[in-house]
Symmetry: C2
């Protein structure tokens, strides 16, 4: 039935599912892969949700994207990583990335909002066991935080790789959600004597603070000034 009721999505979009079509504000949802990738690639901290003893748990953690796969990592002793390793066939997760772009101040309290871009990924996370994939995933994690950094640091050794668990989550059931633009307002509120508008929000990076014991001649790398 799915084949007839839901047309195959174009190759450049994620299919809509019951979980990725919101009950409200469906007009804000988007499924374009390029847009989803752009939102994901701009960030490095996600909020990872899983279920433990029937209750939800949401933890902030770093992530990286490689094509149509996301990776998160952690100590082999950390809770979600252990749970994914124990569970067969994997750990049900929801991985969410959010960027705030602006504060939307309306004349009415009710129409206050935030401009944002978010991506929500539903799926099953699996432990990565292939050493090559694990290394690629960890490089992607480091390069999400600082593009170019993985090539300019000492790679993980066997002991470090063994102590690190990596989870893979395919980008299959995915949606983006965004709000952009100005203020929505009731027509009758337009004359009220309150300021209304958008306050842009962005993340900035300060001057890098070098460790006091750098090897002689080591300078601030160029990729840090491009952050």
């Amino acid at each position: 039935m799915q084949g007839t009721s839901q047309p195959t999505p174009p190759a450049d979009t994620y299919p809509r599912t019951d979980r990725t079509v919101p009950t409200r504000s469906a007009q804000k949802a988007a499924y374009d892969k390029e847009l989803v990738h752009a939102i994901l690639d701009e960030g490095y901290v996600c909020h990872l949700g899983f279920v433990r003893d029937g209750a939800p748990v949401v933890l902030p953690t770093l992530y990286g994207r490689v094509g149509e796969r996301l990776y998160v990592h952690g100590s082999t002793g950390s809770r979600p990583l252990r749970m994914a390793g124990q569970a067969d066939p994997g750990l049900a997760v929801c991985l969410t990335v959010t960027h705030v772009d602006g504060l939307v101040l309306a004349r009415s309290a009710f129409h206050h909002s935030v401009n944002y871009r978010s991506v929500v990924v539903h799926g099953t996370a699996h432990q990565v066991t292939d050493p090559e994939e694990k290394r690629t995933a960890l490089d992607a994690l480091v390069d999400h935080v600082v593009p170019g950094r993985s090539a300019d640091s000492r790679p993980g050794n066997t002991k470090e790789l063994a102590a690190t668990a990596v989870l893979r989550l395919d980008l299959a059931e995915v949606s983006a959600k965004l709000r952009t633009g100005g203020v929505n307002e009731e027509p009758e509120d337009l004359g009220l004597p309150y300021w209304a508008g958008v306050v842009p929000v962005r993340t900035v990076y300060g001057t890098p603070l070098a460790e006091p014991d750098l090897a002689a001649g080591v300078e601030v790398p160029g990729y840090l000034s491009e952050l």
Copy 2:
């Protein structure tokens, strides 16, 4: 047994529970109420986790704090709000707030990290039915985004309040987790020719962009310059 094995925590800390003591990095966890409040009060977007059909869902949403209670809101038609209304006795949630303070670049890929402060709240969310509590909660939500704003906008009317559902979550099972400071490194890596240090990260607000149709004489309010 709990009374003998777990001493009553001081009034200024949240009790430690199985869910709030991490399996790893327990030294980073904190239960001090003042610290938890400060982290919560610095933000306005949380990631709210709940379980739907056995699977986790994590959605970004605005929140506000009033004393030892958090509030989130949404359309009465939105999924978690409907679920909390239907469910008895409430909806099991995990609410997480995270601030990133710095990128920690070590000489080794393995020791890369992020300085951050986060709060994780476990509990059961209940729909707020008392109109006075609902109004207080919505004011707190607006004032979390821009302190002082709720008093300088048109309050919600009966119709708007009816269209808005508010969930209350008590701050009872709560922990903060943080990483601060410089780079951890293996002693044998200290001489490697890679830059190491911390790149500060912060959120900044741009020049407010006023709507084009403000009432005559309305100026940018002072509280926006204090953001």
